[in-house]
Amino acid sequence: MNETKVKNILEEFSKSWPADRIDYRRPEDESWKIYGLSLKELLLEDKKAVPELEAGLKAPNKQVRALCSRALGFLNADASVGGLADAVYNDSWETVRLLAADSLGMIFTAEAKEVLNNALEREKHKDVKLHIRIALRRENGLEEEAVKSLVFIDEKKIESIIIGAPSPDFTLRSCNGSKFTLSDYLGKKKIILIFLYGDG
């Protein structure tokens, strides 16, 4: 039953994210929402999704392989180190190798670290090498509380910003570990929110 559900999620995702997709924002293109919602649905399936996600690491569509690589880390799938090792060593697309490295860092077992050390020796791509190094310098595994916030997202809240309306409230951890809640600043200060993208 769950196998079918995960297969369906990946099939639907594949329609919006074909292998030749160009990853930039185009007006009226809402496939980015499909990305987030697919990831949410996979996380809701929890560990039951793992076998199909491992199979997805071999999918012909590289975007599906990338999504599966990311989801396995978010699920802390420690039994999937072998599949992720194959992805980080051998996948033809650097994005899959990079996300597999992220996930191995999140899984954080001795076996995962050994794979990352081996991958660092053979990897040539600078972006992937950077992700492997970041994964190896982690002091902890998955930051579960934060990562799983996506599970609780209400579809109606996605892109729910309207000029002149209340700004959507949220709470996040700062890079120093303290909690930040937007509404705490109500009546006190103007806020400028700047969303960043790549690694710092």
């Binding site: 990079l98 972006d127 892109e159 309207i162 700062s174």
Partner: protein, 108 residues
């Protein structure tokens, strides 16, 4: 960069940077953080999804946020927003001076 950001302090405005990664990957953005500047880790993409910027740009071989800038008044209302679009979305973002000018036009 820090000097540019300090202009927001003079405008009674708190700059908040949101990075779509776990804290471990916030990296050098962390150096920006201080009393007046906050750097947040949106590792579950929740806030990036709510504000409509998630998964829209390929950068450093990853699928990440498109640039997004939002001004929120003291009354909690969203006053101004700019979301990077198009083939050059990396460059489709306001300068710090433009943001400062927009803040000056924001009364509450």
């Amino acid at each position: 960069m820090r000097k540019n950001i300090e202009i927001f302090k003079e405008l009674d405005t708190k700059p908040v940077f949101i990075v779509p990664h776990e804290k471990v990957r916030v990296g050098s953005w962390k150096e920006l953080a201080g009393d007046s500047i906050t750097v947040l880790a949106d590792s579950g993409f929740y806030v990036s999804m709510v504000y409509g910027v998630a998964f829209q740009m390929r950068i450093h071989s990853d699928t990440s946020n498109t640039p997004g800038t939002f001004i929120i008044g003291k009354d909690g209302l969203l006053k101004w927003a700019k979301i990077g679009e198009g083939r050059n979305n990396f460059h489709d973002r306001p300068s710090y001076q433009e943001i400062a000018d927009r803040i000056k036009q924001t009364e509450n």
